[in-house]
């Protein structure tokens, strides 16, 4: 029993170890790092990246890569802000309309990749421009603000005065994703499709339907992330989530999710999120140049890949 668990969650253990080591290093290096405020802000910084990583890991496990996820999230922030800030719709109505739009966009991706059988990177590259363009056209390229209302719950409310509410959102989404991918038939099918579509086909799996589901799932994660973004900055912008797209790919790869499909755990990808976030936050705390973060994250990505390759041999 123990040996089996060890094997299955090895990536998680390694990443959590790295996280702890970094945590100790940064605590020593910066006197501001180890404070309740910063640790809480560290966790709340994980939320948007974590949500996008859930969607990204899902599409990567299915053997693709949803490059439109960042643009979709940004587009949702624009729509939320337009509905609430400009058209003065009730927040609940805006919530459901934008959720419907996000699902529709996910369906469109799923249709292109699943039913038309277009390479996922190619299809989502197109829809990335499409969603970004729509966001730009609707927002006229400017930030659309929303009034400070109860929408704040998704990004700015702190429970008991210190615990950011959005962490709960991430935890719920993560639990659902882990259950779907590790405990349900549909999750197992997506794994099989990712690792070998031909075998999956002969096993009688409806590839089209399951791929379709993956992209709808990814879009839903993008929608939840857009709630956090919109609430956090009280506004929507058509490029707000762009930088997180590639970070989400990095986090997934750190977690052992292969872009060839079929390999990796959702929970390990989340540990990857933790590592990336603590690097950004810690380097900020020791006043390192923000440019350096990019070098460190990119370098780590290549080192992790090289290390895995060496071990496989």
């Amino acid at each position: 029993m123990n040996r089996k668990t060890d094997f299955r969650y090895k990536n998680e253990l390694v990443l959590l170890g790295v996280f702890l080591v970094l945590f100790i290093i940064f605590s020593i290096a910066s006197k501001h790092f180890l404070s309740l405020t910063n640790v809480m802000s560290l966790f709340s910084q994980m939320v948007e990246l974590g949500l996008l990583t859930l969607g990204m890991a899902a599409s990567m496990i299915s053997g693709g890569m949803d490059l439109s996820l960042g643009a979709l999230t940004s587009f949702c922030t624009v729509m939320l802000s337009v509905f609430i800030g400009k058209l003065f719709l009730p927040e609940g109505a805006a919530f459901f309309i934008v959720l419907a739009i996000a699902i529709l966009f996910g369906c469109f991706n799923g249709f292109l990749v699943g039913y038309l059988n277009i390479q996922s990177m190619l299809a989502t590259l197109g829809t990335q421009s499409l969603f970004k363009g729509l966001g730009l056209v609707i927002s006229n390229g400017v930030t659309v603000g929303i009034p400070n209302t109860q929408f704040a719950v998704f990004g700015r409310v702190k429970l008991w005065g210190f615990f950011p509410f959005q962490i709960i959102l991430l935890v719920i989404a993560a639990v659902i994703a882990i259950i779907i991918f590790n405990r349900t038939m549909i999750g197992r099918r997506i794994y099989l499709i990712g690792s070998n579509p031909t075998v999956a086909k002969f096993a009688g799996i409806n590839i089209k339907k399951n791929i379709f589901f993956t992209y709808v799932f990814s879009a839903c994660m993008g929608f939840i992330a857009s709630l956090v973004f919109t609430s956090k900055i009280s506004a929507g912008r058509s490029d707000v989530a762009d930088p997180l797209l590639l970070k989400a790919v990095c986090a997934s790869v750190f977690g052992g999710v292969s872009s060839l499909g079929g390999i990796g755990n959702i929970s390990a990808a989340l540990c990857g999120v933790a590592v990336i976030t603590i690097i950004s936050n810690g380097l900020d705390m020791i006043n390192a140049s923000s440019y350096l973060q990019q070098v460190v994250i990119g370098g780590l990505l290549l080192i992790v890949l090289a290390f895995r390759h060496a071990r496989k041999k």
Binding site: A123, V249, L301
Partner: protein, 321 residues
């Protein structure tokens, strides 16, 4: 005739679309079909066109390089720094330096992709971050401006009424055509892209082929970075962000297949021109710039979706027949 239509259908379609857009725009503003506007479209897209040819080469090997924007910025800055230091007297040397740097960065990508056996998008994602971060870190985000000397005339100098950058683009097209269809390494690119297993079985080196494709792309991106420095007389470390998407889009719209093995030089050129003409048309029609991304997106989705539909229909027909 039928054969030409069949084999060059994509290129003819693209040319027709460009013409139709041109005719529509002419009804709004007669300026479109003027010699000045046409040369300015060619000049405006020459740098993108040069780099898109390189991207086509990498996509033909069934890979992709998303670090091109960062390579562009690095070459752009290094070239500008060299020009600034020498006062712009060594034009050829400046371009060679930029191309050599780009080539080395490309080779680095190619080596990692070939040796680590990992999808190129993930590898180049890493190198993209490293290069972009490094160039920001080293320059502290500062621009290099006020470039002077003979160098700044390199791109815009006119030969036979057309800017030199356009002639360089033409030269790159001819050289690439020669490499791809008349040399062994070009054939290897097509073979490895079509089927890696089969190609390595007959003794073609995957590593060497990848190194060539990525190095070629890097050198062309370096050339683009040098020409951009000459054209704009300024270089900044944020240059080139988002280029990867535009270059991939141009190649794919032109009929280069993402799964590898099929290249179209003429298609890539037309793909760049189509995107450029649409941008130009939107400007002439006084449409806000925000519509450009949307237009690009619609075209990419239409192009790939129509390919997919064509494939599905042809398969169904084969099954029925």
């Amino acid at each position: 005739m039928k054969n030409i239509l069949k084999s060059k259908g994509r290129e003819l379609l693209l040319a027709a679309v460009i013409l139709i857009i041109g005719i529509i725009v002419t009804t709004i503003t007669p300026a479109f079909f003027s010699v000045i506007n046409i040369t300015s479209i060619l000049y405006g897209n020459a740098i993108m066109g040069i780099m898109a040819i390189g991207m086509m080469m990498v996509i033909t090997t069934a890979n992709v390089d998303i670090s091109v924007g960062s390579i562009f910025a690095v070459c752009n800055m290094i070239c500008a720094a060299f020009v600034k230091a020498t006062g712009g007297t060594q034009s050829v040397l400046a371009i060679i330096i930029a191309m050599a740097v780009g080539c080395c960065l490309g080779l680095f990508n190619g080596l990692l992709v070939a040796k680590l056996n990992i999808p190129a998008i993930v590898v180049t994602l890493g190198s993209m971050n490293i290069m972009r971060g490094a160039i920001y870190y080293l320059t502290d985000g500062a621009w290099i401006d006020g470039l002077t000397g003979p160098f700044v005339k390199v791109a815009s100098r006119r030969i036979l009424g057309v800017q030199e950058a356009v002639w360089i683009w033409v030269a790159v097209i001819i050289i690439t055509y020669f490499i791809l269809y008349r040399t062994r390494v070009g054939r290897n690119v097509l073979a490895v892209g079509g089927n890696v297993e089969a190609a390595t079985r007959v003794g073609i080196s995957k590593t060497k082929t990848y190194l060539f494709a990525f190095g070629y792309l890097g050198a062309l991106v370096g050339l683009g970075g040098a020409l951009s420095a000459a054209k704009l007389k300024i270089a900044q470390p944020s240059n080139g962000i988002g280029y990867e998407m535009q270059l991939i889009a141009a190649a794919v719209i032109g009929g280069t297949e993402f799964s590898g093995g099929v290249a179209s030089i003429a298609g890539t050129v037309l793909g760049v021109l189509l995107l450029g003409v649409i941008d130009n048309a939107l400007v002439l029609a006084k449409v806000p710039v925000y519509w450009q991304d949307l237009a690009t997106g619609i075209i990419i989705v239409l192009a790939v979706a129509s390919d997919a539909l064509k494939f599905i229909i042809s398969q169904n027909r084969r099954r029925a027949g």
